[in-house]
């Protein structure tokens, strides 16, 4: 009844335990919880068994004590009886009536005292001492018989029957002594048995403790090991899941970033379309002009072949130039595929200068480049780096649109610290918004009039630079304007030197100053 109650109680408990959120996530099911309960149960059982065994030992010790007490008491009674017999025998042999009476009085008092003492000893024996049920009655019988013997002997002595006195002493009292010595033997044997039993019990206790300790230890160990293993497996599973999830979200983020980057590029290109058309138109117009010149030279009566050839080769150059522009634009529109390659930073700067030339010219901006010769190549994605430069340059041009006075865009490249290449784009525009210098890299932050900027350019540029292991930062360009710098590690440098690049930032800035 209680058993079934207990099991349903346990089942209820298990159900409650296993539906707790944390345990549920760890998937600690009924079996694992049972495992845990088993662990606790084993410990409780082990402790219980040990306590029980300690109790056993204690009771055995008390038993031995009691058993010894019993033996001692019986021996004492026997010894007393022996001395009783001796004293009585001496008095009987003396045939002196007075002496015998005195002795018998003393003996009677002794016997009564002994009887009381024996009773007390036997009453206070520990309950687990298995006293032979004949021991106490026998002693009692002996102690009860002695006074009547004394009476009989006294009566015989008084009437002078010394032979009968001796007879009685020798046969009857001796008989009692014989019985008591038999009793001593029996009790000694019983005590020996009990001692053996106690020793056996103690040995049993010892074995049981060792056995319990080992068994409980092993079972606990195995259960705990299994419990731990199962939990650890589950935790590993959870970790793997979390990692996969993180990777998935990272990939999604990367994808989103790439899409955004491309969108940014496309929007930039959209903005550039007019100037790009103009840019493409120039060589075409030049080619047309040259073609006309060429035709003119050819259509003269005396065609000047030299001039015509020169014009034709100019046409070719124009065509090539137009083709290159188109190619560059097409490259910018191309779908992203991260392709790391050795890139010459100066070349990219020149390309972007060419690309943005007409845009700059449109707003009266003069582009100047100060490129350090012999810069090491940079490992990176050409298109992305072009995008960074384009973003920065477009920003600068935008910033200078409404500025009176000199409109100059300076692009510098130089060797930075730690084998890095430092590129800076400086303008003489409106400069950075005050107190918001740190916010310009945030997404959707823009100073441009509504509708003209997404607020993503700098954010994307920074992420591109950082993905290349470099840094992008902004600074004021005294007396007016802003200056954007970024570093790129050269191909000889390990990517993990980002931290050292960070530390080098203020120095880098400082070093840039004279250049600006």
């Amino acid at each position: 009844m209680t058993g079934s109650l207990n099991t349903t109680g346990l089942g209820e408990w298990l159900r409650q335990v296993t539906t707790r959120p944390l345990l549920h996530r760890l998937k600690i099911g009924r079996h694992l919880a049972l495992c845990f309960a088993l662990l606790i149960l084993m410990m409780v059982i082990c402790d219980g068994v040990l306590l029980w065994q300690l109790r056993q030992v204690r009771s055995q010790v008390e038993l031995l004590k009691g058993v010894d007490g019993e033996l001692i008491e019986v021996l004492r009674v026997h010894g007393d009886l022996f001395s009783f017999y001796e004293r009585l025998g001496i008095a009987a042999r003396s045939e002196n009536q007075d002496q015998l009476i005195t002795v018998s009085e003393a003996l009677r008092a002794d016997v009564l005292e002994e009887a009381k003492r024996t009773e007390a000893v036997f009453r206070h024996l520990p309950s687990q001492v298995k006293v032979d049920q004949t021991v106490f009655p026998t002693i009692e019988a002996i102690e009860d018989t002695l006074p009547s013997h004394l009476d009989a002997i006294r009566a015989l002595a008084t009437s002078g029957e010394w032979a009968a006195v001796r007879d009685r002493t020798d046969k009857q009292v001796q008989r009692l002594e014989f019985i008591s010595s038999q009793l001593v033997k029996d009790v000694a044997r019983a005590v020996e048995e009990q001692r053996t039993q106690a020793a056996f019990n103690i040995a049993l206790v010892e074995h049981r403790i060792v056995f319990t300790a080992i068994v409980t230890g092993f079972v606990t160990l195995f259960t705990a090991a299994f419990f731990g293993w199962a939990t650890a497996l589950r935790i590993i599973e959870l970790r793997l899941e979390a990692r996969a999830q993180r990777e998935q979200s990272e990939a999604a983020l990367r994808q989103a970033q790439a899409d955004l980057t491309r969108a940014n590029r496309l929007s930039s290109m959209g903005e550039l379309t007019a100037s790009l058309a103009h840019e493409v138109n120039q060589p075409i117009a030049a080619a047309i002009t040259d073609a006309n010149t060429c035709l003119r030279w050819l259509s003269r009566d005396q065609p000047d072949l030299e001039e015509a050839r020169a014009a034709a080769s100019r046409i070719v150059q124009d065509g090539v130039r137009a083709g290159e522009i188109v190619k560059r634009v097409r490259l910018l529109f191309k779908e992203d595929t991260l392709q790391r390659e050795s890139v010459d930073v100066n070349e990219i700067i020149q390309e972007m200068r060419l690309l943005l030339h007409s845009e700059a010219t449109q707003f009266g901006v003069f582009i100047r480049t100060e490129l350090a010769a012999g810069l090491p190549q940079v490992m990176g994605d050409r298109v992305q780096l072009q995008q960074v430069l384009m973003n920065l340059m477009m920003n600068s041009i935008d910033a200078m649109k409404d500025v009176d006075g000199m409109r100059e865009l300076i692009i510098q490249s130089q060797s930075g610290e730690n084998c890095q290449v430092l590129i800076s784009v400086s303008d003489t525009g409106v400069g950075l918004p005050p107190q918001q210098a740190d916010k310009i890299f945030n997404a959707f932050f823009t100073t441009k009039p509504h509708g003209t900027g997404m607020g993503m350019g700098l954010r994307i540029s920074r992420s591109i630079v950082e993905s290349h292991g470099g840094r992008l930062w902004a600074a004021d360009n005294p007396p007016c304007g802003a200056r954007f710098c970024f570093t790129l590690p050269t191909s000889g440098e390990k990517r993990d030197s980002v931290v050292s690049a960070d530390r080098a930032e203020p120095g880098g800035r400082h070093a840039n100053k004279p250049v600006g």
């Binding site: 079996h31 049972l34 088993l38 084993m42 059982i45 068994v49 032979d132 049920q133 004949t134 106490f136 009655p137 026998t138 009692e140 019988a141 002996i142 009860d144 018989t145 009547s148 013997h149 009989a152 009566a155 015989l156 008084t158 009437s159 002078g160 029957e161 032979a163 009968a164 007879d167 009685r168 046969k171 009857q172 001796q174 008989r175 009692l176 014989f178 019985i179 039993q197 056996f200 049993l204 074995h207 049981r208 056995f211 319990t212 068994v215 079972v219 259960t223 293993w229 199962a230 497996l233 589950r234 590993i236 599973e237 793997l240 990692r243 996969a244």
Partner: protein, 490 residues
């Protein structure tokens, strides 16, 4: 990516496998745990089961170091061999009054109470509260036992003990001395005994044995004296102290006369020390130093002594207690076996009682068969109390009349009655008071104790007693026929 996926898959597989095996292993683990726990608990049993030991208070055992103890011990050994039940004797005091004290004390201490108790024929009334009723358990055995005996152990319909050993008072005599002084038969009356005792005493003293006495008997304060004095007064027609109808008849001239006669013996044919002789001292004195011609003892002790020491048969004879002017009577003695009410081994105790009673019945049947074929070799007067004797009765002494002490009528008061009686008789024997006064004060005392009314003894009552016992004559072994001894009983 690929590597990670692979390891993840492997891990998932391992977990899957372990989950599958876990379901199965739970049950296995449960079984293993249960097994291990049972191993822990196992071994808490004792090495061996102790055989049942029952305790036995046997009044015949341990009185001294004689063969009698051995017989009792051997019987118990047989019992232990047959049943596996160990029996331990408790030593018992010598006199039946002391025995009563001890048994009563032990019975009242429940923890030490002996399982099987020897209950003297006079104590059923005193001990009936402490002993269980045996009637429902021993029907077969009881049918083989004399109904009168069974009745004497029955108190208010409760069979307190099963009759085991019966005994009757007898007179021992020295065959050699009787022959020496020309007597062909032992005395039949107290008068004859006095004459013979005086003559033999004088003769023996003249022959040089100065401390020779004619007649010894246990005169110390004890039940032995009650039995003796009861025989004296019944012989004279002095009644049974308290009659069966509850009349206190002790104060009558016949009883007084019988006491006076006994007091007269002291210093004449009995030694002065006779009043300090317990039965044990007296019988020892009679058997071994041989300082007297006649001794009033118990049949059982003679039979056992003869069994121990056959040479006694040549020297000592046994006959009926002498008769007086009125009648002849021998006191009934012996004891039965009862089971303590607080005994924890009632079944085993019953087994022991059955065993002992069966042994006894078998022994007596064998003896009676032997007697009917070879003539009575050795007739046990105590045996007739148990088995029907219908043969070999020819040529026998007149039957001894058996009287019981007034224990049945006095019931639980018998102990006090007996002690008062002993005191009164002793005061007369010791010359401390005159017999009529002693009888009168005893009568008052008994009235006080029992609440019965005094009255005259009913003389007829004695003759109504069933004549149960007869006294054997020890027959010489074949080949050494003693014609004169043989003649004694013709």
């Amino acid at each position: 990516m690929r590597m990670r996926g692979l390891s993840g898959y492997q891990m998932g597989l391992t977990i899957g496998i372990c989950k599958v095996s876990w379901l199965r292993s739970t049950k296995t683990a449960g079984i293993v745990c249960a097994f291990l726990f049972s191993l822990i608990v196992h071994g808490d049993q004792r090495i061996s089961k102790e055989p049942v030991t029952i305790t036995f208070v046997d009044p015949e055992w341990s009185k001294d170091l004689t063969e009698r103890t051995l017989i009792a011990d051997n019987r118990l050994k047989d019992f232990t061999q047959q049943t596996g039940i160990a029996v331990k004797h408790l030593p018992t005091p010598e006199t039946t009054l002391d025995q009563l004290d001890l048994v009563r004390k032990l019975l009242r201490q429940e923890s030490t109470s002996p399982d099987v108790n020897g209950v003297d024929v006079i104590w059923p009334g005193v001990l009936s509260e402490e002993l269980m009723d045996l009637k429902p358990y021993l029907a077969t055995e009881l049918s083989a036992i004399n109904a009168d005996m069974v009745a004497s152990y029955t108190v208010k319909g409760k069979l307190v003990a099963v009759p085991y050993h019966s005994d009757i008072g007898v007179l021992f005599y020295r065959k050699d001395l009787l022959r020496r002084y020309g007597y062909r038969a032992p005395p039949r009356t107290w008068g004859e005994l006095e004459q013979m005792a005086v003559r033999i005493q004088e003769g023996e003293r003249a022959r040089g044995q100065k401390d020779f006495w004619g007649f010894t008997w246990p005169g110390a304060a004890g039940e032995g004296l009650t039995c003796n004095a009861l025989e004296w007064q019944i012989a004279e027609g002095g009644g049974r102290i308290i009659e069966a109808d509850g009349t206190i008849s002790v104060n009558n001239p016949d009883a007084i006369r019988s006491w006076q006669r006994a007091a007269h013996w002291i210093g004449w044919i009995s030694p002065r020390s006779v009043t300090s002789l317990q039965e044990w001292d007296a019988v020892n004195d009679f058997y071994h130093p041989g300082r007297s011609a006649f001794y009033r003892g118990w049949a059982k002790s003679y039979l056992l002594s003869v069994r121990d020491n056959p040479s006694i048969r040549d020297r000592i004879g046994m006959t009926n207690v002498p008769a007086g002017k009125n009648a002849q009577a021998a006191t009934l003695g012996g004891f039965g076996l009862g089971i303590s009410r607080s005994s924890r081994h009632t079944t085993e105790a019953l087994q022991l009682i059955r065993f002992l009673v069966h042994q006894e019945i078998k022994l007596e049947e064998a003896r009676s068969d032997h007697d009917s074929q070879n003539g009575p070799d050795f007739y046990d007067p105590t045996a007739i109390l148990r088995t029907k004797r219908n043969s070999a009765d020819n040529g026998r002494q007149p039957l001894s009349r058996v009287v019981a002490r007034p224990s049945t009528v006095a019931g639980e008061r018998y102990e006090e009655v007996s002690r008062a009686y002993i005191q009164a008789v002793r005061s007369v024997l010791l010359g401390q008071s005159r017999a009529p006064e002693a009888a009168a004060s005893l009568e008052q005392e008994l009235v006080r104790i029992t609440g019965f009314k005094p009255g005259p003894p009913s003389r007829n009552r004695v003759s109504k007693e069933t004549s149960l016992g007869t006294v054997s004559r020890p027959q010489p072994a074949a080949g050494s026929t003693d014609a004169s001894a043989h003649q004694d009983f013709k």
